[in-house]
């Protein structure tokens, strides 16, 4: 045990100083996490989605490489949009010996609640080169209505 001369000790020790130090450390930690995520919303549910709002339309895009059109299923119930499907990346060749395996096979299902009401009659979905683009039209109640101001 090291000897500490009485005179070396601070005259008054703030009992909360340690807590303050921990708090600062935690703040710093959370800041670095935010920087890493670039303020993006990370999710664990496949597929990752981007959603855009353009005028009276809502556009949802997803990257779905290797998913065939017949294996993809979309449904809209109320305000819940469900995207589900599967990807089969199995090789029939038995003699194949793998060098790298990074692509996975499996099924996926994701349900999202749409931020606004949409018109059930006007839904378009396209799958092109592995990119899914869903175009939804906002319900007439959700589209901004111009209000005319008239002078009396």
């Amino acid at each position: 045990m090291a000897f500490v001369r009485f005179a070396d000790r601070p005259a008054f020790r703030n009992p909360w100083a340690e807590f303050e130090r921990i708090r600062q450390g935690l703040d710093e930690l959370s800041r670095t996490y935010v920087d890493k995520g670039k303020a993006q919303n990370r999710t664990n549910v496949y597929p990752a989605l981007n959603i855009f709002e353009e005028g009276d339309r809502l556009i949802i895009t997803a990257e779905l490489p290797g998913v065939k059109i017949q294996d993809l299923e979309l449904s809209l119930e109320g305000e819940t949009l469900t995207i589900q499907g599967k990807r089969d990346n199995k090789q029939n060749d038995k003699s194949a010996s793998y060098h790298r395996r990074e692509i996975e096979s499996g099924s996926f299902r994701r349900a999202i609640t749409l931020p606004i009401k949409v018109d059930m009659e006007q839904i378009g979905a396209k799958l092109n080169n592995g990119i899914l683009v869903i175009t939804l039209a906002k319900a007439s109640a959700a589209t901004p209505r111009q209000i005319k101001v008239s002078a009396e």
Partner: protein, 132 residues
């Protein structure tokens, strides 16, 4: 067996030699590589790339896969952004001798499939030693 749930795989930025002048992101596509008796097959996930924007080259045993995405048009206000899109680039050193003339590539559903046929192994020549 497709019961397994698919997970989101993080996109890794590709390592280019040197920086590009344009501020564009290159991602390393996820790949499967396997070898059969006759060929080496490379499968790469490159969603959003049209077949005419894929560049492939094999030089000095280095296979380069490059895919350019059409510039994205601005699609209004972003409500949710869970993934970034960019170009694709990945390089591999191929150990086997490949018959460059017979490389085949096909693209379907955003997945590139390359078939690199191996050159038949050179038959070791037997040298007979005659004892005179």
């Amino acid at each position: 067996m497709t019961e397994q749930e698919l997970k989101i795989q993080e996109k890794k930025t590709a390592n280019q030699g040197g920086e590009t002048t344009k501020n564009e992101t290159y991602f390393a596509p996820h790949v499967d590589i396997f070898e059969t008796e006759k060929d080496v097959i490379v499968i790469a996930d490159m969603p959003g790339v049209a077949s005419e924007s894929i560049d492939l080259s094999l030089e000095d045993n280095i296979l380069t896969i490059q895919g350019h995405r059409a510039p994205q048009k601005q699609m209004g206000r972003i409500l949710l952004e869970e993934y970034e899109s960019g170009h694709y680039l990945r390089r591999f050193t191929v150990a086997e001798t490949i018959d460059q003339e017979k490389i085949e590539a096909s693209l379907a559903d955003g997945v590139l499939r390359l078939r690199l046929p191996k050159v038949g192994p050179a038959q070791p020549k037997k040298i007979e030693i005659k004892i005179g």
